[in-house]
């Protein structure tokens, strides 16, 4: 390869030949390897100055109702019971009271008493819309931009663009993602190299994950959230002896062949794995947290324990340098039983999310951590039976906080009843473009060649919502 060619070597080539090497070169002592590019996971400079270094996505699957949470509709109250634009069902006002909160006076319902205290940190996105009202398709589109084809997840794109700052943990972690609705696609790397795919952690969740049906469907949760973290057979010192032999054999191959990126990659990956055996149980062990912190997240209370653990882990992963962390909670699919189920869902998550914001803030991390909240769509203003709402993808709400977005700010609006986004509409592509922008990445320049095209998360769309940038 000539010098000029070397510059053109794309990331995929890099990966194929190098794998996860972390500066093993000096160790190997091979002059011929000087031209080797860096690890595909090494932290990289973004396109421009980032406002956020990492993302925590609080993913509420099932389609949480915007009308009962973050999109206050006085007209819906006024017209309660009148016939909606759909024959056979009547408009249904929210059973919960909305109040202006904080200095900014953002209207938030009583479902979120704790979160409402942080209203001045929230940037409500009330003009969201996407392309499909079916769960799986909308959920996949929220994650990958496209429900038709298998495409990389938002987190994989972020990792591909920025690398990771942790050398002992994966760079993209998805905790308790739903198994249906597209499954692993939602944290997959698709055509991006597999190193960028999310690593699924399964976290025990006393409020949900202990349900027998979930255990049956997904398998029991692992205390470390990952498979094969512990060696059940050898003590660490014995395993080290074993690993030393493995590495000696590997180095023999290197010495014999002179140049073997595959072997180098193997050497590095075994060392990282060895570090993960220690790092993963450590980061998963919440016993070092103070009682006050645990209480802040609602850990220990039945209602909030599960999601509280996820939120606290998110902070710990963030501290450790993980680039993209996604948490899962659901289901928010309240066709019926709206009052009870919404109260339970919000109850599960309100205090933990408020705790996360407060904790990040006091540690000085909120300013460079972008928090995202939302689900695949919202719900209809009408109700089939007065206690439930159907799917609505034409207008709904999500929110952001921290990492470079305006706090106490509301962007976009739906019509008077909340059917359709009508003002400052934000399509999922726009949402993606904005998130990448906050990370310092230009969504039009973050591309990967696949199937003969320079592929993008936002395909041929996406507009950064500049109005929400702090």
């Amino acid at each position: 390869m000539s010098k000029s060619n070397a510059g053109l070597m794309c990331r995929r080539d890099t990966l194929k030949t190098l794998s996860a090497g972390f500066g093993y070169l000096a160790f190997a002592g091979l002059a011929t390897l000087q031209a080797q590019p860096r690890s595909p996971l090494a932290a990289r400079a973004p396109h421009f100055l980032p406002r956020a270094k990492r993302v925590i996505f609080l993913c509420m699957h099932g389609g949480p109702s915007h009308l009962d949470t973050f999109d206050y509709k006085p007209a819906l109250r006024r017209d309660n019971g009148r016939s909606s634009r759909y024959a056979g069902s009547a408009l249904c006002s929210s059973p919960w009271t909305f109040r202006p909160r904080g200095q900014s006076g953002l209207w938030i319902s009583d479902l979120y008493p704790h979160l409402a205290q942080h209203a001045d940190e929230l940037c409500l996105l009330r003009g969201m819309h996407c392309d499909n009202p079916s769960h799986s398709q909308a959920f996949v589109q929220m994650h990958t931009g496209n429900f038709q084809f298998v495409r990389p997840s938002l987190g994989a794109w972020a990792l591909y663009g920025l690398g990771t700052e942790s050398d002992s943990l994966p760079g993209f972690i998805s905790i308790n993602p739903p198994t249906g609705v597209g499954g692993a696609q939602n944290f997959g790397s698709a055509f991006l190299p597999a190193v960028y795919q999310g690593t699924r952690f399964n976290i025990a969740d006393s409020s949900q994950r202990s349900r027998p049906v979930d255990i049956a469907r997904r398998g029991p949760a692992n205390p470390f959230g990952l498979n094969h973290v512990r060696n059940e057979h050898l003590s660490p010192s014995l395993q080290r002896v074993q690993l030393d032999l493995v590495q000696q054999l590997n180095r023999e191959v290197l010495d014999r062949t002179g140049q073997a990126p595959l072997v180098e990659g193997a050497i590095e990956s075994f060392e990282l794995a060895f570090r993960m055996q220690e790092a993963v149980p450590r980061v998963m062990d919440l016993s070092t947290e103070s009682r006050e912190t645990l209480a802040l997240y609602g850990i220990g209370s039945e209602l909030t324990d599960g999601f509280g653990r996820q939120c606290l882990l998110a902070r710990r992963f963030a501290e450790a340098g993980v680039r993209f962390i996604e948490l899962g909670h659901g289901t928010w699919d309240q066709h019926n039983n709206l009052r009870e189920a919404m109260a339970r869902n919000a109850g599960n998550t309100d205090k933990p999310i408020a705790g996360l914001i407060a904790d990040l803030k006091r540690r000085g991390m909120l300013q460079d951590t972008l928090i995202l909240w939302g689900g695949e769509f919202g719900r209809t203003p009408h109700s089939p039976d007065g206690d439930g709402r159907d799917h609505n993808h034409t207008g709904y709400a999500m929110w952001m906080a921290g990492g470079g977005v305006k706090g106490g700010f509301s962007y976009g609006a739906t019509d008077e009843h909340g059917y359709e986004a009508v003002e400052n509409k934000m399509h999922i592509h726009d949402w993606h473009a904005t998130i990448l922008h906050l990370l310092g990445l230009d969504h039009e320049r973050l591309t990967f060649r696949h199937a003969s095209r320079e592929m993008r998360l936002t395909d041929v769309s996406g507009t950064v919502a500049r109005d929400i940038l702090a």
């Binding site: 249906g180 049956a216 973290v229 060895f274």
Partner: protein
């Protein structure tokens, strides 16, 4: 003859829902008077009573049905066609407006006046004249210059190149070598030395069969090769080994798996609601058998695309041909899609993409929404192919309760294919029938309760539907004598070809001009790209023959390149699935042509083709490093050595199982997913039930469920089968290392290896040789000795008996061998 056979081919109707329906074009021209009748009596009613829910302008189209254009009306909705022109009695639309059927009454707000209903009857009986023409989305005249496009290297027929003459060099053995050496010399590169016999034997075993040689095989063949008295004798010895390996059933398992990557084979639908496909394995076995039988590749193509349309001489041949069309049925499907038309359009799109990329390395599917941006493929080419696949029914069979989009399976009972399961008694059969009847009754009662307004929990309703389907499946897998029936996935022609219109921006709601069926123009002789109007059927057989023709400029090149890739680790065209402008050009264009022509000369025999290449000196080079060559060509594009490569996940697992003595080489019958049953993963099928399936068979036989691949395979870059994937990634991740160090599967193999060698005089040395196919070097023996010392020292804190210590030390050593890079890297 085959036509007759087709009519007797039963189609299992148990999973039947009409997502895919042929629309026969009614041939009756509407008279002016008839059209006037429509304008006066029918159109106003449609506008005022139907359009609100059944038109382009409807907020949400109900039942996938639109009535605001002639084509939409004829296309029907989710329940199939709504009018049969000429027969009101047979038309769903009339049934609905006549309010005879309680379940189907339209418009929902109240029956139309009797006179209007009578008008509808009259209108349909007169052939449903309908002057409405869809607003044809104006098709922008293509700017693609096909004549210029034909000049691109990949679209010109391969020309027999002159074999380079190399003066003053004894190095080349075959024509392949002459091409390679000529390029090496131009680039000032020198081939490294030949691989030693031991490396060569290991390479041949892994590359041809996917498995390592036993130490005995290494010894035997190494001594035969090294003991040869002349160069010719040496080549003969190697040739004999090649023949032996190509004749082994392990060859088809390994190379069949290569093809399954291309065919995006999997045993679940993937997509939005991942449903198990219990019968996909028949296609898997078909592929393996085809490679083992060395089926000519042109024939292999035709069978996969149109096996159902081929003449045949026996039932068994017919059945195998139909199974081959599983190629078209095993792609990703969005079975939760509500709208039948969109599902069908995506299904056809997936088939076009898979077909054109797998056989032609051409991305025709890029032209679904607009002319191809880079290659000379106008949008009409896409719809010309779409017409062929739209005229085809795809059978994949899912339970209705689990998937909105289902189609029946093909029933191939009694045609000589292997059966799964045993015959049951008539009493058992009756029991199954009773269960089915009970479940059906329960489901109907539940539905009636709900209709009557009773509050039925959703879970009860869903359960009743699932029970209905499960019991139905359990019953219908037997014939009326209790013999297990044979089902397969595959395709059949629609009864009539379906008219196809170009869709503006690919959207099903925006039909444009009619497109006649045909092939990709730029790789067809000018003026010959359209199907003759006289052809009967879908045109799939014609398409298959067009692809499998030696005159197709791409087909032979594409498969020759794929084979080359598996032999050398990369293709002459590195982008094996894309020979278009955005792919990479060949490193050796003349050699590629030479190979394509040789393949055809070999009558498309893949085995003969492989044999020719592996007997070249180029393929038998060592993988040793050379500094000056490396400086000029670090990627080894010009093949100055053999590139090292990491084994595939399948090879790694199979090699571990072989080395541990655990491998079961016999092919299992059917799929291990039978124990899991049908249904949606995460809903009616539990993921852990799939994950816990254990087997010591070769990896090609493990359950291939999209998103739930066997852990080891997933970690080592097995494709998820979402699309054609002719070239795998080779990634290295710490999760791979965690798996190798800590997973029970690898430990079992380590323990197995330790058990195998423990009674040998030199257990450590034997284990090393079993793992790597070579004895340990002196330095490695020193590492081994140091390991034993350090292990013993570190184990002091654990109170172990001397025997236990020895055993565990050997196990840990064996485990280290399996973890080491050399185990999974092939030189």
């Amino acid at each position: 003859m085959h036509r007759q056979r087709m009519t007797t081919l039963g189609v299992a109707t148990l999973w039947l829902v009409g997502g895919v329906t042929a629309i026969a074009q009614d041939g009756r021209p509407a008279t002016t008077a008839a059209e006037a009748f429509f304008e006066a009596k029918i159109r106003p009613v449609l506008v005022s009573h139907c359009y609100q829910c059944h038109s382009d302008s409807a907020k949400k189209t109900r039942g996938g049905l639109k009535l605001d254009s002639r084509s939409a009306l004829l296309a029907g909705g989710d329940n199939g066609p709504v009018i049969v022109p000429g027969s009101a009695e047979k038309s769903l639309l009339f049934k609905a407006v006549s309010y005879h059927d309680k379940k189907l009454q339209m418009p929902p707000k109240g029956k139309l006046p009797d006179a209007v209903v009578a008008d509808f009857r009259k209108w349909i009986d007169m052939g449903a004249p309908d002057p409405r023409v869809p607003k044809a989305a104006s098709y922008v005249q293509t700017k693609i210059d096909l004549a210029k496009g034909r000049e691109y290297w990949a679209y010109r027929s391969p020309k027999k190149p002159a074999i380079p003459t190399i003066r003053g060099s004894e190095w080349p053995r075959t024509d392949v070598d002459r091409f390679i050496l000529a390029t090496l010399m131009q680039s000032k590169l020198k081939p490294v030395k030949d691989a030693d016999a031991r490396s060569l034997v290991r390479r041949l075993y892994f590359v041809l069969t996917g498995l390592p040689p036993t130490p005995e095989a290494v010894t035997t063949w190494t001594s035969r090769i090294d003991g040869a008295v002349s160069a010719v004798a040496r080549r003969d010895a190697i040739g004999r080994l090649v023949d032996e390996l190509l004749a082994s059933p392990r060859y088809g398992e390994h190379w069949g798996r290569h093809w399954m990557d291309v065919a995006r084979f999997a045993e679940s639908t993937g997509g939005d609601a991942n449903n198990i496909l219990l019968h996909a394995w028949r296609y898997r076995d078909y592929v393996i058998d085809a490679f083992n039988a060395d089926k000519s590749f042109d024939r292999f193509i035709i069978e996969q695309l149109a096996g159902d349309l081929l003449p045949f001489s026996s039932d068994k041949e017919f059945a195998a041909n139909v199974v081959a069309t599983g190629f078209l049925a095993c792609g990703v499907k969005l079975v939760a899609e509500e709208e039948g038309r969109r599902f069908f359009a995506d299904l056809v799109d997936e088939q076009i993409d898979a077909t054109t990329r797998a056989f032609l390395a051409t991305t025709v599917a890029c032209a679904r929404c607009h002319d191809h941006k880079f290659d000379p493929i106008p949008q009409t080419d896409y719809y010309a192919l779409a017409g062929i696949f739209r005229s085809t029914q795809t059978h994949f069979g899912l339970m209705k309760a689990q998937a909105r989009q289902t189609t029946p399976l093909l029933d191939l009972t009694g045609l000589g294919l292997p059966e799964i399961g045993r015959q049951i008694s008539l009493a058992q059969l009756a029991q199954l029938r009773d269960k089915r009847d009970k479940a059906l009754k329960h489901q109907e009662e539940t539905l009636a309760k709900m209709r009557a307004g009773e509050a039925v929990p959703q879970s009860v309703w869903l359960r009743s539907r699932t029970d209905r389907d499960r019991t139905q499946v359990a019953y219908q897998i037997y014939d009326d004598k209790g013999n297990p029936r044979v089902f397969a996935m595959g395709v059949q022609d629609q009864e009539f070809p379906v008219e196809t219109r170009l869709l503006s921006r690919g959207e099903v709601d925006k039909p444009g001009a009619k497109v006649p069926r045909g092939f990709v123009q730029v790789i067809t002789k000018t003026g010959e790209h359209l199907l003759p109007s006289t052809i009967k059927g879908s045109g799939r057989l014609e398409l298959a023959k067009w692809i499998a023709s030696p005159d197709n400029p791409l087909t032979a090149r594409v498969i020759a390149n794929r084979v080359w890739q598996h032999l050398f680790g990369r293709g002459l065209v590195r982008t094996v699935d894309d020979f278009g402008k955005t792919g990479e050009p060949p490193t050796h264009p003349e050699l590629l042509d030479h190979l394509a022509i040789r393949l055809v000369e070999h009558k498309w025999s893949i085995k003969a083709f492989i044999r020719e290449i592996v007997l070249s000196r180029t393929w038998q080079l060592s993988s040793e490093f050379d500094e000056s060559n490396f400086a000029l060509d670090p990627e080894n594009r010009f093949l100055w050595r053999m590139s090292s490569r990491r084994l595939t996940g399948e090879q790694i697992r199979d090699a571990m199982l072989l080395v541990s003595g655990n491998l079961v080489v016999k092919r299992p019958l059917g799929t291990f997913l039978t124990s899991v049953g049908e249904g949606t993963i995460g809903r009616s099928v539990n993921e852990p039930d799939i994950r816990k399936i254990e087997s010591n068979h070769r990896s090609v036989y493990l359950p291939r469920v999209r998103n739930v691949l066997p852990e080891l395979l997933e970690l080592f870059d097995a494709p998820d089968a979402s699309l054609v994937m002719g070239a795998r990634e080779t990634t290295t991740s710490p999760l791979q290392s965690l798996y190798l160090m800590n997973s029970p599967l690898v430990r079992r193999q380590a323990d197995g290896l330790a058990r195998r060698v423990k009674d040998a005089g030199d257990p450590f040395g034997v284990a090393h040789e079993l793992a790597f196919g070579r004895p340990a070097t002196a330095r490695e023996r020193k590492f081994e000795a140091a390991f034993v010392v350090n292990f013993t020292k570190a184990a002091r804190s654990e109170t172990l008996s001397a025997d236990d210590l020895q055993r565990r030390c050997l196990e840990a050593y064996c485990h280290a061998l399996l973890c080491s890079a050399e185990f999974r890297i092939l030189d």
